[in-house]
Amino acid sequence: MLLALAAVPVLIAVAVRLSSSPPEPGRGPPFLDRVTQNGLFVSITALVVCIPLFLPLTVGVVAGDTIAGEANLGTLRYLLVVPAGRVRLLLVKFAGAAAFCLAATLTVVASGALIGAALFPVGPVTLLSGDTISVGESILRSLLVAGYVTVSLLGLSAIGLFISTLTVVPVGAMAATIVLSVVAQVLGALPQFEWLHPWLFSHYWLDFADLLRQPIAWTSFGDNALLQAGYAAVFGALAYGRFVTKDILS
């Protein structure tokens, strides 16, 4: 999955490189037009492309598999008989899912930076606020954006973990998690549900542009972190309530 994620920036960079006319501003994904000027923007463009579907897909697969996958293989009962401890197992599984979120976003960013540097000129980056920062600092900003996206995915990971405690069929848990992420984004796109939007875990997913200004505006990062922490707490508690008393019959 990480390989597939790494392929996205490569695909973008190669496509832009091979096309005769440079992309026009305002067409295609955000930041696409900047790629030809500075290869470092491949990372950001690729993240924007991956956030709505590809990243939630991979996170859904990993988070949905956490408990249900062990139950399906029959390894869950052996872990519990060891005894690994049910709460401990949940915590380790959530930490594992979070580690995957980080690995996934870092993969996209790193692969984007590498292919961008290989195919396009690399230089000081002009931020959205008009300021220019050095290459070194721009890499730092990319990592910051990766951190933002990682945090964004924690809520979904917690939802996946909870769903995974409900079933012994990992594919079902994966699909349900991915469907939920799509539903959240569909609801987020409908103005009729505006009252609901601030509560959707996908609400701040694409709001990392604030991190590309000078000075950095941390409000969206904070709002996002708070929302994701809320989701992690609620669904973590649900997963706990479900899993601690669950009869393990698989």
Binding site: L73, Y78, V81, P83, A84, T245, D247, I248, L249
Partner: protein, 334 residues
């Protein structure tokens, strides 16, 4: 049923009124199990009689609807964290990651155990694999293991640490005759070291060969429990008389207070080449434990003019006993 557990004997597993319902179905119904420490305890019953559910309840994998379980003197699942490190278990077949090697699977499970020292992990994994005869396949992916090899790996997992109690659910499932034999020897050697071994099985012969105690489950209930000898003794004996004088034999046996019946008509019981025996039949009758001795029965038969050509007292086999307890559906032949 069975004898009352002696309170003086320390119990490795004790259940009182243990009941588990799934919806309307009662999988385990008021089971009072008493597994003495140091015993090799055979837990018998047909498939679906509630053996595995009872084991899951004892290991804290599932919660009982009512009743109590205590393992090694501690109540479960309350003291689960203190109890389970001292228990090795094989529950309902092996469960491993097919993409990891056998040794890597054991490493992973062992590292989940907070009481297992990581310094000796490699050596303990190696020893456990050797003990079940998997030393040569330690580096092979479990996905490439045969069912028997996976079963052995499951046993190796239970042996990673020294245990006070081993719970083995159908340990010889999928094993070849040599493997079955090895498991029997393994269980005996573990028992000799003082480990209590609780073995569930639907294979009567296997249990008979290695167990000191037996409990029998049928449709969720415990129908018998005790030492192997007690269960054997509880079975009924029968006298079998081979004679051509069926009617006279029936009459004499009935006069002795027995309930005889003709099991083979005349002419069917012969066949040993003896000319005299071509018209033999067989009469048999159940023998109560307190009835008169066999020689007195023979004497009465002879005195009654019955030409006794064969006389045997047959003790009911354990198999007959189990069929009587669990019904004909018991898949002993498997």
């Amino acid at each position: 049923m069975g004898e009352q557990p002696n309170p003086a004997v320390e119990l490795a597993i004790e259940t009182r009124g243990l009941t588990k319902r799934f919806g309307h179905q009662t999988a385990v119904n008021a089971v009072d199990l008493a597994v003495p420490r140091g015993s090799v305890f055979g837990f018998l019953g047909p498939n679906g009689s509630g053996k595995t559910t009872t084991i899951r309840l004892a290991l804290g994998l599932a919660a009982a609807t009512s009743g109590q379980v205590s393992v090694l003197g501690q109540t479960m699942p309350g003291r689960l964290k203190d109890v389970l490190p001292r228990v090795g278990a094989l529950v309902e077949g092996p469960g491993f990651y097919p993409f990891l090697s056998g040794a890597a699977n054991l490493h992973r499970l062992d590292s989940a155990d907070r009481y297992a020292p990581s310094a000796t992990r490699r050596a303990r994994v190696h020893r456990a694999l050797d003990r079940v005869g998997l030393g040569h396949a330690a580096g092979k992916k479990v996905g490439a293991y045969s069912l028997g090899m996976k079963q052995r790996l499951g046993l190796a997992n239970a042996l990673l640490m020294p245990r006070e109690l081993l719970v083995l659910d159908e340990p010889t499932n999928g094993l070849d005759p040599q493997g079955t034999r090895e498991v029997r020897n393994l269980v005996r050697s573990l028992a000799a070291e003082g480990t209590t071994v609780f073995v569930s099985s639907h294979l009567l012969a296997e249990v008979e060969q290695m167990c000191s105690h037996i409990a029998v489950m049928s449709v969720g209930s415990l129908v018998a429990q005790g030492t192997l000898d007690e269960l054997r003794r509880a079975g009924e004996s029968r006298v079998r008389v081979r004679t051509p004088d069926i009617a006279a034999a029936l009459r004499v046996l009935a006069a002795l207070g027995l309930a005889p019946e003709q099991t083979e008509p005349p002419g069917r019981a012969g066949g040993d080449g003896n000319d005299d025996s071509h018209d033999d039949g067989v009469v048999s009758a159940p023998l109560a434990p307190d009835s008169r001795p066999a020689e007195a029965i023979v004497a009465a038969l002879v005195a009654g003019g019955v030409r006794v050509r064969g006389f045997t007292v047959e003790r009911a086999s354990l198999e007959d006993r189990f069929v009587a307890l669990t019904g004909e559906g018991f898949d002993i032949a498997q």
